[in-house]
């Protein structure tokens, strides 16, 4: 595994988006993972629609049938991947733009630009997460967002952080040497793309520590999924 890796340097990550006042983070996480997978499959970066999932995806978690994707009221990335496999794929952001509100489904199958071939859940192991990131592209992950409301920049590594997952984001890379003054040493970190606009965090991104002595900080390793795309023209 490379010591540092960032899919932004390889053109697999689209612009930072803004979900607005809508609990649709899960759809941004899922679309970001598919944007990356589609880039790996085709060499082309397509900015994909979240609104299609907000409006049309009502897929339920097979292990908990009362927990279903529900637009601005929340959802789950793996359920979204199931929906995308069933529906055929995602339209582009341009064809099905984001409104930040629940609306009627206006999905047009003829406008699909990216399709899911398969998806998997990655084990709670930082090396496996890094390997899947490098091999398959950006990963959809869950995180505990308690510290994100006040985050401005740097490598977040709270002494205490719950592992209850409440926010869906996109893991796009990792670094080996974020400086941690309190611990007087270089600290490795994950690079996470958020969906709260560019004027949040580090131009829309969040860094959180990783490594054997801080593993699964804020639950970051515990819900990781990877997706692969099929070529569509």
């Amino acid at each position: 595994l490379p010591g540092d890796f960032d899919w932004r340097d390889h053109g697999a990550v689209g612009p930072v988006k803004n979900q607005g006042s809508c609990g649709s983070c899960w759809s941004f996480s899922a679309s970001g993972a598919l944007e990356g997978a589609h880039f790996l499959a085709t060499g082309k970066l397509e900015v994909l629609s979240e609104q299609q999932m907000v409006d049309c995806d009502h897929e339920c978690d097979p292990s908990e049938p009362q927990s279903c994707d529900s637009g601005c009221n929340g959802g789950l990335m793996t359920s979204a991947f199931s929906y995308l496999m069933k529906s055929g794929g995602l339209e582009s952001e341009k064809d099905y733009p984001y409104s930040g509100r629940d609306g009627q489904c206006k999905f047009d199958k003829s406008k699909i630009v990216a399709s899911v071939q398969n998806f998997s859940v990655v084990s709670v192991d930082e090396d496996q997460i890094a390997a899947n990131l490098v091999k398959h592209g950006p990963l959809a992950i869950g995180i505990n967002a308690a510290y994100m409301q006040t985050y401005i920049g740097g490598v977040s590594c709270p002494y205490i952080c719950g592992r209850h997952l409440d926010h869906g984001v996109l893991l796009v890379g990792y670094g080996s040497s974020g400086f941690a003054p309190i611990r007087l040493k270089e600290k490795p970190y994950w690079i996470i793309k958020n969906s709260w606009g560019e004027n949040w965090g580090e131009h829309g991104y969040y860094k959180i520590c990783r490594g054997s002595n801080v593993r699964n900080k804020c639950g970051v390793d515990s819900m990781v999924s990877t997706v692969s795309a099929i070529h569509t023209s």
Binding site: S63, S70, S123, I152, D166
Partner: protein, 115 residues
Amino acid sequence: AEDPLIRQVVPGGGDDNDLELNAEHHFASFVRRFGKSYRDADEHAYRLSVFKANLRRARRHQLLDPCAEHGVTKFSDLTPAEFRRTYLGLRKSRRALLRELGESAHEAPVLPTDG
């Protein structure tokens, strides 16, 4: 001059008063910067009280998370509950997650990580 290995992470000292004194100034700057508007004076006063609580919270986060920078963000006029309700949306119970991880249907194969 502060010992970098030992930091106070509980309230104390005179910082609370400084924070209170500067909060209105910070709030005015926050409102301008993020283009916030409130429907009336009551709402404005309530949001100022929430903002003050979030300044204290940001300072707690800074002490508990010293490698990062915490402070005023565009969410500083929201209570934690409002923030969760409006901006977070991952529907997942821990129980369901563990069950899902136990299922093999969608488990990613183990990849080599050495060399």
